[in-house]
Symmetry: C2
Subunit: 140 residues, 2 copies
DNA sequence: TTATCCGTATCTAAATTAGATACAAAAGGA
DNA sequence: TCCTTTTGTATCTAATTTAGATACGGATAA
């Protein structure tokens, strides 16, 4: 169960809710209920995608590089993505008409489905998530 | 790498290409390049979804229950699905506004994205895959 | 100079995945 | 009736993935 995409969204949402205050990976870890090291491993991807910046030392921590409205879940998914959404089987039999040709056919169709999924994620921003979370919080 | 969805599509495509002839799990296993037992584990899901029937003994094997045009990749995905497309992290901190409310918010948004992905898969049938495979085969 | 905090590496335990084998039961043919 | 084929399922193992845990050098500010 690879929950890193969910953890990444959680992290960015926590940053959004915190306004412009710096937040440490330890604080995020407390909210996610995991260790700071795991959070920092997730942050590695978010930093590479220029969604957050981080600073060492006293008063350091994390900050969003853009407004929450300008960070879509598509950006987050793309940043965190390490494997295919629909993994292919490999080493199919080249002596079989199906085995020899199925891989590129599936790759193409699966890519289409993944692209459609990304379009769906593109419509949701971290600001949307933060608003949903805060609305739920205030209604309890 | 959970390739069972790909293997399931491969299996159904092989059945479609074989017309109405019965095919054994050993033959499918040769095409996929895996052991018959694994194929039969995949078939368990396809049988439960009424996409194939199987018969023991001499001349036994597998058969589609519908025309390939009437089997969508959405049906196959749904049949094979055992885990969420976007796994959630659990045990988030209930004392944090974000930790206490993020799970249902993400579940809702992720479900939307998964539904859009399924709509995409619904547009592709096993007949489409079989046609693509045979076209590729004949053009080599 | 000291206390934080990040970035990264490493180790471990748990879970998942698929390969391999085995065998009872079903089903058809001799 | 007996034999062969094939399924359905169980079990075991090895490889891989995932996340928890710890550690530590380097950056940063007080």
């Amino acid at each position: 169960m690879n929950s890193q995409f969910a953890v990444a969204v959680h992290t960015l949402t926590a940053l959004a809710v915190s306004g412009n205050q710096r937040v440490t990976s330890e604080q995020i870890g407390e909210s996610v209920n995991t260790n700071p090291s795991f959070i920092r491993r997730v942050l590695k991807h978010l930093r590479a995608a220029h969604l957050v910046t981080s600073r060492s030392g006293v008063g350091g921590g994390l900050q969003l590089t853009k407004a929450p409205e300008d960070i879509s879940l598509k950006m987050v998914y793309t940043a965190m993505r390490t494997t295919d959404l629909f993994p292919l089987h490999t080493n199919t039999n080249p002596d079989c008409p199906v085995g020899n040709n199925i891989a590129p056919v599936l790759a193409h169709r699966f890519a289409d489905a993944e692209a459609d999924m990304l379009e769906s994620l593109a419509k949701v921003s971290i600001a949307d998530i933060a608003r949903d979370v805060l609305t739920r919080y205030q209604n309890v």
